[in-house]
Amino acid sequence: MLLELHNICKSYPSPAGGAGLAVLKKIDLSIEQEERVAVVGPSGSGKSTLLNIIGTLDRPDGGSLHFDGTDLLQFTENRTARFRNRDVGFVFQLHHLLPQCTVLENVLIPTLPEKKKNIQRALHLLKRVGLSTHIHHRPGELSGGERQRVALVRALINKPRLLLADEPTGSLDEVSSLELVKLLTTINKQEKTTMLVVTHSLELAKLMDRVVLLKNGRLEPFRGKL
């Protein structure tokens, strides 16, 4: 088992005082190596919160989180950062590319802590996503779909074991979304990464090995029609 969540809870304090707003209520989730899981659910159900907790971008109020047998919640800040750098790749709804850096530089941002830069890998990945001719362009010179592809390459540059995608097609038009979905699944297969995707896109959810529904703070298998 690559990823194990047990009794994960998360709530946010109420501005008016009193009891907080419980977003995640005792979530259990296990993900195998190379498994692809989609998390669906209504808006505001806590999907992104769950993803952020798994990616150690946020901390749960309770429960345990194990990655490959290691308790992630016991990590120090630097250890957590190293985990995110080496073992996790993020793709967000908004690409969050750095406007001052070129495409190649953006892709290589996760390699900053390392002395050796795997430029060949970056060029190879960019070629695979069809952006080899854009490596010296800045994000401002790319379309939305192209930016998201760069974000995808950035997420994969360090060969992460777990790829987390939060609404990766959320800000794209239909054509770009389809393109990205295809790329995501193809490259993921080739890279043999485990993938956890939060999505509203049925096309994307269909391509996953497993779909789970987050509703009322609880996680359950999705039994609906895709």
Partner: protein, 1098 residues
């Protein structure tokens, strides 16, 4: 991709956004570096002035009241193998012929070619005629003279005999008509002075020979300048040894005179009385000698017979045998006949003894006639008469004009006959012991020493005597003026620190502004921080990268700030030379760029900027990644009220403490500025905490009823509580400090005639160029000087002796080690309860410090008082400390500071008792400071009469209150500088206020969009924005101003509050206008374009 590339990319991309940080750090660096350079410039200028005023002079040999031969200079030059120059240094007055403009207290220097070669330029100014003179630049400007103009120079006629002796010549001035040549520039010793002061003296340079001839001082000088020796350093022991080997009896005012084939020769002094040091040296020679004391008596009486105006002498054997008792007298037959007296009869001698203020007390002494003798009217007899000026040098008795008043009508024909035959031969003889009991004084105990040797031995006696006399004991002292001057200037007021302190607000405001720009910029890059964290870059690395980026901008800004700093320092120096000249006196400072200060300033400014950036970054990277990525600009602090109750409690405590202090002050009727300043600070704190509590309550409160624009605005203020409180606090603290400190000006006493005030109750303060020997309270003196006007009917005068020295007042930037000494009769001040003391040593607790000036503190330790500000700032000392001086006998004396005066008219001087003054500086005759009271304050006539009466003494008269005000000018100038620079800092702070406004509106654009979407028009939204920000501005200004007014209550209770209202109002108005401008600009920016599109972007 590496960190350097990343940082450089970010710098390039965000260069415009970094403009604020760049300019903020540039400004703070400019002010910091500028302050340091200004300090260096002042310091450099002072050091330069030392070189300008001394040229190549390293040492001086100076005699204040004695004259030696000018040839001594040449002899010393040969012995020391360096250049020297003899100078006649005197005080005088100058009158410009055309305009009649008169300048007193002028330094008159009789110089020759050697003097001019002492300048740093080492060139000659060319030949100058006997009736020509050079003026220095300052005097030329004061008199407005040009080449060819004519002046009258007035100098006191020199008498070798100290003026305080009864028989010195009456005061006369000599006048010189001189043609002015081109003024002497600073580079040519135009600034020459032996006093450490940045202000150039007023100097007239006259040919040495001319001055010597006109003043009957042929071949004399009283100052020798000794130049630095390039080959090797001159040391004091070498100088003293050279002087010892070259000094002659003539230099000491001594001469050995034979008496026409008599088997003896006499040692006499041009000062008439032979100093104890000489007498002691003679005794050490173990040669046969006889001390002689002769005196001029008013009369010798027997019964009703009287012989007027005669000399009585104690010449020793053979005239006075050893068998003569102290109460016996031997008289000439001429006298015996005149008085019809015989052996065994008792005669009475009547004679004058000088008392203070040149009053003469007549004393008498009775002696029994032991025998009557005859002596030949030869030179040996006549030589017993001392050479009293006005007595010994006239042909007839009726031509006598000694220093004392004599009634020439008493002189009879037989007296003239006696004079024709015997001249000044003494008519009577007593023992030396008896004579010294009657007539010895501080100038000496003998008027001649007779060596009972042959003439041939004269040379060897002279040599032996010179070997045995210490020149230092006669006041021949070398002063290392160059070292003293450089030391004095190096310890001067540190203008660097001063300007740093005064510019403190500007520096902090600029740094805060920089940090503010940086924080806002980093907030706009929240998503970048978030994504870097998300991809696993360690937080510390992200922080360091951000800091490095900021550091890059700060480095460039600080570098630019160096250039601005040079400009700023130039402006500061320009300010000191013009509008702030009150702080430095009539002088011209020059800009000096010290590379070390540039480096230090750069480093300090850069490090300060880095610190502020680091502090600003601290909170940034701690935020959760999800929040960082959520929205870059949205500012959504939790609506937490914090703990308002604690803030309220602190408010109550502060107000209570302030109330207690104010009540205590009012009750005790001591409205002291420090108490009210503390009260003001407490009031300010209470305001801030009260607002903090209010905002906290608003944050927690639930709305009742419908909200309106004002409640929305108020909630916005409370929502951004920290930012709002910070804005208000910065404004309030800035206003409070600037106003409460800057307007804290020293003012004149409310009642200047009050004895305990700084004026001592005196109406006029006057200094004279020439000493006044007479007692101005004496009716005869008033009559003589035409000071009997009715407006002066009740006037009384206190006169003080002056030993020249450095000015230790706040008007002199240099640290002085040798302040001017004033000798005062302490009883005069004690009786009047004049002045008041701030401090006193514990040992004199309960004593009147004035009377404590008479206390015996041990050998060569003298009690002294001075203004407390002089002690602390001028001398850098505390009460109880001791100042070292060398007296006229070459002894080191310690002046112990027993008490510190409250700010007084004596600032700059040290006061000792007149008795001690006379003991240690006997040659300094007369009084040069006159204080007058008993005059109606504000009346002009008395001042004019006194000035007219004492014109010939070169009087400079001013009101005592006016003199006190001049000292306050320095402190008030510093406060004015603080006010101006602090105000500038506030204005910079207002830019920060503007930045906050722009930031607030940028963050709230979506809120404004929502308001517009739900139906509010742009005008309403504009009102909301204005209300919100003007509230912050007004709250900040109100808090600061009210607190400042509390601190200023003592000032407003005075009859004439000296508050610079216009400047204060200007600063407040400008701040308000600036705040309104920024609020308006923020409003316009917020409502620019379509707000609805903001919602669409959301």
């Amino acid at each position: 991709m590496n960190w350097l590339k990343f940082i450089l990319s970010s710098l390039r991309y965000y260069s415009r956004q970094h403009a604020g940080l760049f300019l903020g750090t540039a400004l703070s660096a400019a002010v910091l570096v500028g302050a340091l350079l200004a300090g260096d410039s002042v310091s450099h200028s002072l050091q330069r002035f030392v070189r300008l005023r001394l040229g190549q002079v390293e040492y001086v040999l100076e005699q204040n009241e004695r004259f030696f031969t000018a040839d001594l200079a040449a002899d010393l030059a040969a012995a020391l193998k360096t250049s020297t120059a003899p100078v006649l240094k005197l005080r005088g007055m100058v009158i410009e012929n055309n305009s009649g403009l008169r300048v007193n207290n002028v330094q008159v220097l009789g110089v020759d070619e050697r003097f001019w070669r002492m300048s740093s330029q080492s060139i000659s100014l060319g030949a100058i005629g006997d009736n020509q003179a050079f003026l220095n630049m300052r005097l030329a400007r004061r008199l407005n003279t040009h080449t060819g103009d004519r002046i009258v120079l007035l100098i006191e006629q020199i008498d070798f005999m100290p003026k305080d002796t009864a028989f010195s010549a009456r005061q006369n001035t000599k006048s010189f008509h001189l043609e002015v040549q081109s003024p002497v520039g600073d580079d040519h010793l135009g600034r020459f002075s032996l006093s450490s002061n940045q202000v150039s003296p007023l100097t007239v340079f006259v040919p040495l020979r001319t001055l010597q001839d006109k003043l009957d001082l042929a071949g004399k000088a009283n100052l020798i300048l000794i130049a630095e020796r390039p080959a090797s350093v001159l040391q004091l022991p070498e100088l003293r040894a050279a002087l010892k080997s070259k000094i002659t009896l003539a230099d000491m005012g001594l001469s050995l005179e034979t008496q026409n084939k008599q088997p003896y020769f006499d040692l006499i002094s041009e000062r008439v009385f032979i100093e104890p040091a000489i007498e002691h040296a003679v005794q050490n020679l173990n040669l046969p000698h006889q001390p002689i004391l002769s005196y001029f008596v008013n009369s010798i009486d027997f019964n009703k017979n009287t012989t007027p105006y005669s000399f009585v002498s104690a010449p020793g054997p053979p005239l006075v045998p050893d068998t003569l008792n102290d109460d016996e007298i031997i008289i000439l037959r001429w006298l015996a006949r005149d008085l019809r007296v015989h052996s065994g009869d008792r005669v009475e001698l009547r004679y004058f003894i000088p008392a203070p203020l040149n009053t003469l007390e007549e004393h008498s002494a009775a002696f029994k006639v032991q025998s009557v003798i005859d002596i030949k009217p030869d030179d040996s007899a006549r030589s017993l008469m001392p050479r009293f000026s006005g007595l010994s040098d006239v042909e007839n008795c009726r031509d006598w004009h000694p220093g004392i008043s004599i009634d020439l009508s008493k002189i009879r024909n037989k007296d003239e006959e006696y004079w024709d035959l015997y001249r000044g031969t003494p008519k009577a003889f007593i023992t030396l012991n008896a004579a010294q009991k009657l007539w010895q004084n501080r100038f000496g105990r003998v008027t001649a020493i007779r060596f009972l040797l042959k003439d041939a031995d004269m040379a060897s006696v002279a040599k032996e005597l010179l070997n045995n006399v210490s020149p230092a004991a006669l006041g021949f002292l070398f002063r290392p003026v160059l070292v003293q001057g450089l030391k004095s200037s190096s310890q001067a007021v540190d203008f660097g620190q001063l300007f740093l302190g005064l510019s403190f607000f500007i520096i902090i405001s600029a740094l805060l502004l920089s940090a503010l720009f940086f924080v806002f910029h980093r907030q706009s890059r929240n998503s970048e921080t978030g994504i870097l964290k998300a991809v696993g870059i360690p937080p510390q690395a992200i922080k360091m990268a951000a800091l490095a980026e900021g550091a890059g901008v700060a480095f460039a800004g600080t570098g630019f700030g160096l250039i601005l700093g040079i400009i700023y320092s130039y402006l500061l120096i320009l300010g000191l030379n013009t509008v702030w000249q009150g702080a430095v006196g009539e002088t011209s400072l020059i800009l000096f760029i010290n590379p070390y200060s540039l480096l230090f300033g750069f480093t300090l400014a850069f490090c300060a900027a880095l610190f502020f950036l680091w502090r600003a970054l601290k909170s940034q990277t701690k935020r959760q990644i999800s929040l960082l990525q959520a929205n870059t600009l949205q500012y959504n602090p939790p609506l937490s009220g914090g703990k308002p109750a604690i803030s309220l409690f602190i408010t109550c405590v502060c107000i209570s403490c302030a109330a207690v202090l104010i009540l205590f002050s009012v009750y005790s009727q001591e409205l002291t500025t420090p108490i009210f300043f503390i009260s003001g600070t407490l009031i300010l704190c209470s305001f801030i905490f009260l607002l903090n509590a209010l905002f906290g309550y608003v944050g927690k409160s639930k709305n009742k009823g419908y909200p309106n624009l004002f409640t929305v605005g108020y909630k916005n203020i409370a929502r951004r509580k920290r930012r709002s409180i910070l804005t208000i606090t910065l404004l309030a603290v800035g206003i409070f400090c600037v106003i409460a400190v800057g307007v804290n000006q020293q003012e004149l006493p409310a009642t200047p005639a009050e004895p305990s005030s700084g004026t001592g109750g005196f109406i006029f303060y006057a200094e004279t160029t020439l000493p006044i020997i007479d007692n101005l309270n004496e009716q005869s003196v008033k009559r003589k000087l035409h000071m009997e006007d009715s407006s002066l009917a009740g006037a009384s005068y206190v006169q003080l002796r002056v030993r020249p020295g450095d000015d230790a007042s706040c008007l002199n930037l240099n640290r002085t080690a040798n302040p001017r000494l004033l000798g005062v009769d302490p009883l005069k001040f004690a009786q009047r309860n004049s002045f008041s003391f701030e401090t006193a040593i514990p040992e004199i607790k309960g004593e009147n410090p004035w009377l404590a000036l008479h206390n015996d503190l041990g050998e060569n330790v003298i009690p002294a008082v001075a203004d407390q500000t002089v002690i602390t700032w001028g001398l850098g000392m505390n009460i109880g400390d001791e100042l070292s001086y060398i007296d006229e006998k070459g002894r080191e004396i310690k002046l112990k500071l027993i008490a510190g005066l409250n700010s007084s008219i004596f600032q700059g001087s040290i006061l000792i008792s007149e008795k001690q003054f006379i003991t240690h500086f006997p040659s300094i005759s007369g009084y040069r400071i006159v204080l007058a009271d008993g005059i109606t304050p504000g009346a002009e006539q008395p001042g004019k009469i006194i000035s007219a009466a004492l014109t010939s003494f070169g009087i400079d008269l001013e009101t005592a209150a006016g003199r006190l005000a001049r000292f306050h000018v320095v402190e008030n100038t510093y406060l004015l500088m603080f006010l101006m620079l602090g105000g500038l800092g506030l204005l910079i702070g207002s830019i920060g206020f503007g930045v906050i406004i722009l930031r607030n509106v940028a963050e709230s654009r979506n809120e404004y969009a929502i308001l517009q979407a739900v139906g509010f028009n742009k005008k309403s939204i504009a009102l909301l924005i204005l209300y919100e920000h003007l509230t912050l501005l007004i709250l900040g200004m109100a808090c600061g101003t009210l607190a400042a007014l509390t601190a200023l209550i003592p000032h407003f209770t005075k009859a004439l509050p000296n508050v610079p209202l216009y400047l204060t109002a200007f600063i407040l108005f400008t701040l308000l206008a600036s705040g309104i401008f920024w609020s308006y600009l923020g409003t316009k920016t917020a409502l620019k374009g379509s707000l609805i599109s903001v919602l669409r972007e959301e």
